[in-house]
Each structure stands twice: as structure tokens, then as C-alpha cells.
């Protein structure tokens, strides 16, 4: 807005070389806008760096006043992290966790989407199963852990079931909602051109539901990491959750924090990846919401 106001000021009294003047005017507008954006970004990054420094300083201060048990020194955490990564502990644990996480998520994604499509596509099935799905979804996933232990034991398969149980419902519900809320106008358009039910379903309703399915997957992935850690903490200790438990039990807070950082990064990467998939496969939805 300010850039637009600036243009007439720069305009010379004589309009002899109008083209050049206009070009340079737009150049300065672009220049100013770029500078403003840069300034804003620098400010954001600056405040973020300041917050990290404050956090680290706070950790040092807490460590100095209350000791290693309450808060480890950040440099101890760093040293411990390097040690755990180089001696293979972290890589092994990460591998175990990722196996449970990956398989559990894959299972919940396939079953969640399949059942969601069924529920969203067939109104009768959807209406019949709706209360059951809601009841299961509302029950905290941890409530089923004793049952899962009795049925599946304490090892990988049981953990995968825990992850599946946690992640399947958000995926299922988002898929079903996406399909049953498919754009009525587009469905009518398809019908008007003579599309049969199956064509409408696969070529109109399912693609229209894709953004909703993808956000279900993103939520499911986030919950999968939670489920993985809970399973590893409560069942046979393994993976990153197992490391957390053993470090916590022995009050090795530097080790504990080193694992927490890995979990943080893992969760962030996973969500970022699925967010990327969302923008990639549901480009139109994103650009619609960006077009102010």
C-alpha cells in the first residue's frame, strides 16, 4: 500500500522517457517490498534465536541452583548425545522405534482409509457404524493396553497394535468425513454429464476428499509417535521409549534429554513431511486458501 503511494512522488514533471521511469519505479517498489519482507524475517529469526539462548541460559541457571537431577547442563546433554550416537545406542533405539512406528502407521493408514471410504461412501454403513467409531475414538488409546498385552504379548506385534489403535481413528474419521462431505455441486455436475455411481465415487468424491484424507494421515502420524513411545514405555522396554524409561529410572537426566531431543526432531520431521505431501497432492486446496 505504501509502495503504491510512493509511485506518483517519483514521477518526473516531464514524461519524456516514460518507459525507463516506469521500470525504475516498479524496481524500487519491488526493492522496498523485498527489503520489508527481509526485515520481517530477520526479526522473526532474531527473536527465535534469543528465545533459544534464554532457554539454554535458564537450563544453566536451574542446573546451578538445583543440581543435575532437576536439570542437566546443556553441554552435558550435547556430550551425551554425541556419545550415544557414536556408540550406536541411539541408532539401534531409533531403528526399533521407527519399525514399530512405521508398521503401525502403515497399518492404520491402510485400514483407516479403506474403512473410511466405506463409511463415507455408503450412507447406510456410515450411519450404522457411526456411534461405534465415535465410542472407540473417544476412549483413550492407553485404556486398551492391558487388553492388547493379554492378546498380543509385550513385543513388537503388540506395540504395533497399540500404534494402530491410536492412529486409525483420526485417519478413518477424516476419510469418511471428506467423502461424505464431498462437494455436492461437483457431484451434481458429474451426474448431469451421465456419470454412474462408481465413476462419481472414484473420480469425483475420492479426489475431492484427498485433502481431508491427507490431514487425517498427518494427525495419525503425530499420534503414532505418541503411541510408539507409550507402547515402549509400558510394554517390553525398547526403542527410544525404552531409553527414556531406563534413563529416567536411573536419574540420568542428560541421557534422558538427549532422547527427548531425538523424539522432538522425529515428530517435527514426520509432520513436516506429511505437510509437504498435503501441499504437493492437494495443491489446489492450498492455493485456494492462499488467494486472499
Amino acid at each position: 500500500m505504501t509502495e503504491e503511494l510512493a509511485t506518483p512522488v517519483n514521477r518526473p514533471e516531464t514524461l519524456l522517457p516514460p518507459k525507463v521511469e516506469k521500470a525504475s519505479a516498479t524496481n524500487t517498489i519491488a526493492e522496498r517490498a523485498r527489503k520489508r519482507r527481509l526485515r520481517e524475517r530477520n526479526l522473526v529469526v532474531g527473536v527465535q534465536v534469543a528465545l533459544v539462548i534464554a532457554l539454554l541460559a535458564g537450563m544453566y541457571a536451574l542446573n546451578a541452583t538445583s543440581g543435575n537431577l532437576v536439570m542437566p547442563r546443556p553441554d552435558d546433554v550435547l556430550r551425551r548425545s554425541i556419545q550415544m550416537w557414536s556408540d550406536g545406542t541411539m541408532i539401534r533405539a531409533l531403528g526399533e522405534s521407527l519399525t514399530v512406528l512405521g508398521l503401525g502407521f502403515l497399518l492404520s493408514a491402510t485400514t483407516g482409509i479403506a474403512v473410511g471410504v466405506l463409511l463415507g461412501g455408503f450412507r447406510f454403513v456410515g450411519r450404522v457404524l457411526d456411534p461405534f467409531v465415535n465410542a472407540m475414538n473417544s476412549t483413550p488409546g492407553a485404556a486398551f493396553i492391558p487388553l492388547i498385552i493379554v492378546w498380543f504379548g509385550l513385543y513388537s506385534e503388540a506395540k504395533i497394535v497399540v500404534v494402530w489403535n491410536a492412529a486409525v481413528f483420526p485417519i478413518l474419521i477424516n476419510t469418511a468425513a471428506g467423502i461424505s462431505n464431498a462437494n455436492k455441486d461437483l457431484v451434481e455436475m458429474g451426474r448431469a454429464f451421465g456419470a454412474k455411481r462408481a465413476t462419481l465415487f472414484w473420480n469425483v468424491m475420492v479426489p475431492d476428499a484427498l485433502p481431508s484424507i491427507l490431514s487425517g494421515l498427518r494427525i495419525g502420524a503425530a499420534i503414532s509417535t505418541v503411541g510408539t513411545v507409550i507402547a515402549e514405555l509400558t510394554m517390553a522396554q525398547s526403542g527410544l521409549g525404552g531409553l527414556l524409561a531406563s534413563a529416567g529410572n536411573r536419574f540420568q537426566m542428560d541421557k534422558y534429554f538427549a532422547v527427548v531431543i531425538v523424539l522432538m526432531v522425529l515428530g517435527t520431521l514426520l509432520t513436516a513431511l506429511l505437510r509437504y505431501a498435503e501441499t504437493r497432492f492437494a495443491r489446489w486446496r492450498v492455493s485456494l486458501s492462499d488467494n486472499r
Binding site: M189, G190, A192, F193, T199, P207, L210, W284, S287
Partner: protein, 279 residues
């Protein structure tokens, strides 16, 4: 041939209700559309214009009376193509992909579909945008794609549901002209729904004027203006002005009969301007 003289579309005493019969949408609607004829359905909102189109398309079935298209109960398919008020393009498909969707329903193979889609896009001046996505196009361009999609299936009847109502005045003007031009080349029958009297007179050969709540036929008038209208604007002609006045008087008559004027005020901005003998 005899078949060309018999009506392509015929409605006989058609009635339709919604919401379990609570809302009477249309009542005792009868009119014909001949092959290649351009017929407009005009009337204030609530007169069931869109309902009639959907009946002709076969998307819904009448409660009473009979709708026949080419001698049979209508079924959605390639003989009938619809252009909607909003373009209704699938945002995940390219412009060409949207047209190919309709062509696939006609059973064309991939190569034919691609060629046909490009040809149709050329006809509406959007060949360069074949690989663009609908959200990258302006409203007028999207509506052109909607028109191209409908024309691509080579329908015998083109159904148009206020196709230009959401566009700006200049785009509307251009698209009206293009529509007339395409119609004069292809000569399919067009059933055109609008609440714009001037648009109806400008485009159509016959106007079915409807009155609202429930929708009934008020009058069917022939529009006798020199062709081709896309070459010579008929709007300054006395016959055009006379026809427009006549239709306006009918609508004022509806108002006098107790049709809610607020509805009309929204649909017809010009009704508020002082003119002699309103009522």
C-alpha cells in the same frame, strides 16, 4: 424429416414438490422446445427455473405430469449437457482434464479425448490454458471452460443455468456474443435460465415467463428479432424495447397480484427506478 418438426423436449402439466411435499416448487408447467431452438426461462427467484432444468436433464423426476426428451423420459447423458452458474470445474484436474472427464463419460479413448478437448478449448479461446488448473483462471475463463465441457459432448440440448449471472458486465457481454455465435454454428437446442429480462430478449427465440411460488407459466412469447444477433446488436431496435417493456409490465402485474416485491427488488435492480404507470 418429420422428426425434426416434432418437439425435442416437451413438458406436460409438470409439477414438483420438495421437502416431503411441503414446498411446491412448480405446478402445471407445459411447454415445448423444438430442435435447434433457443428458449429462455425467465422469472423472479422462487419460480422454479432451475428445477425445470434439472427435470429436463433427468436429475430429478416429476411428481406429476410428464417430461419427454426425444420422446423418452430424460436420463443424464451426453445428449444433454449442462452449464451451471458457477463453472463447477474439478480443481484437481487441469482445464483440459476437466473437459476430458466429460468426454470419457461418452466413451471416447484417450487420444480422441485429448484432441477433442484441445479443439474445444481452441473454440473458446483457451487453448494456451489447457494445462492450467481452474483456480489459475478468472471467473469468465472458468465459465468458458464450463461451456467448452458442455459443447465437447456434442449435446442435442444445451441446458444453461444462469451461466453469466456471476460474471462482470463486460465479460458477460463477450460471452453472450460467443454463445450466440456458437449456437448459430452448431444449432443445438438451448434452454437458458436467467432472471435478466434483457438477456433473455437478447439471446432467445422464445421466452417462457414464469411466476413464482409455486412456479407456473405466466406467458410464452416469441422473440422476433433479426438474425444473426451477434453481428448486429438488436438492443436499440424498437421491437427489442417493446418486448422488454412488455415483459416488465407482466412482472409488474405479478407484483400487483401480490408477489413479494422484496424478492423482485433483489433480482431486478431496475424495478426501483421511477417509470410511468408502475402498477
Amino acid at each position: 424429416m418429420d422428426a425434426s418438426l416434432s418437439p425435442l423436449i416437451s413438458l406436460r402439466h409438470v409439477g414438483k414438490s420438495f421437502k416431503d411435499g411441503e414446498v411446491r416448487a412448480i405446478e402445471d408447467i407445459s411447454f415445448d422446445v423444438r430442435p435447434g431452438e433457443f428458449v429462455s426461462l425467465v422469472g423472479p427467484s422462487g419460480c422454479g427455473k432451475t428445477t425445470i432444468l434439472r427435470l429436463i436433464n433427468g436429475l430429478i423426476t416429476p411428481d406429476e405430469g410428464e417430461v419427454r426428451v426425444m420422446g423418452a423420459a430424460p436420463e443424464p447423458g451426453p445428449d444433454l449437457a449442462m452449464v451451471f452458474q458457477s463453472a463447477r470445474l474439478m480443481p484437481w484436474r487441469t482445464v483440459a482434464g476437466n473437459i476430458e472427464f466429460a468426454l470419457a463419460l461418452r466413451g471416447l479413448n484417450r487420444k480422441e479425448r485429448q484432441e477433442r478437448a484441445l479443439a474445444l478449448l481452441g473454440a473458446v479461446g483457451l487453448r494456451d490454458f489447457a494445462n492450467a488448473y481452474p483456480h489459475e483462471l478468472s471467473g469468465g475463463m472458468q465459465q468458458r471452460v464450463g461451456l467448452a465441457r458442455a459443447l465437447s459432448v456434442e449435446p442435442k440440448v444445451l441446458l444453461m443455468d444462469e451461466p453469466f449471472a456471476a460474471l462482470d458486465a463486460m465479460t458477460r457481454e463477450v460471452l453472450r456474443n460467443e454463445l450466440l455465435q456458437m449456437w448459430s454454428e452448431r444449432r443445438m437446442a438451448i434452454v437458458f435460465v436467467t432472471h435478466d429480462i434483457e438477456e433473455a430478449v437478447l439471446l432467445s427465440q422464445r421466452i417462457v415467463l414464469l411466476r413464482p411460488r409455486p412456479g407456473r407459466v405466466d406467458e410464452i412469447v416469441d422473440v422476433d428479432l433479426p438474425e444473426p444477433r451477434w453481428q448486429k446488436d438488436p438492443r436499440p431496435l424498437p421491437a427489442f424495447i417493446e418486448m422488454r417493456e412488455h415483459l416488465w409490465n407482466r412482472i409488474r402485474g405479478m407484483a400487483a397480484d401480490g408477489v413479494e416485491l422484496e424478492e423482485l427488488a433483489g433480482a431486478f435492480p431496475r424495478l426501483g427506478t421511477p417509470e410511468k404507470g408502475a402498477r
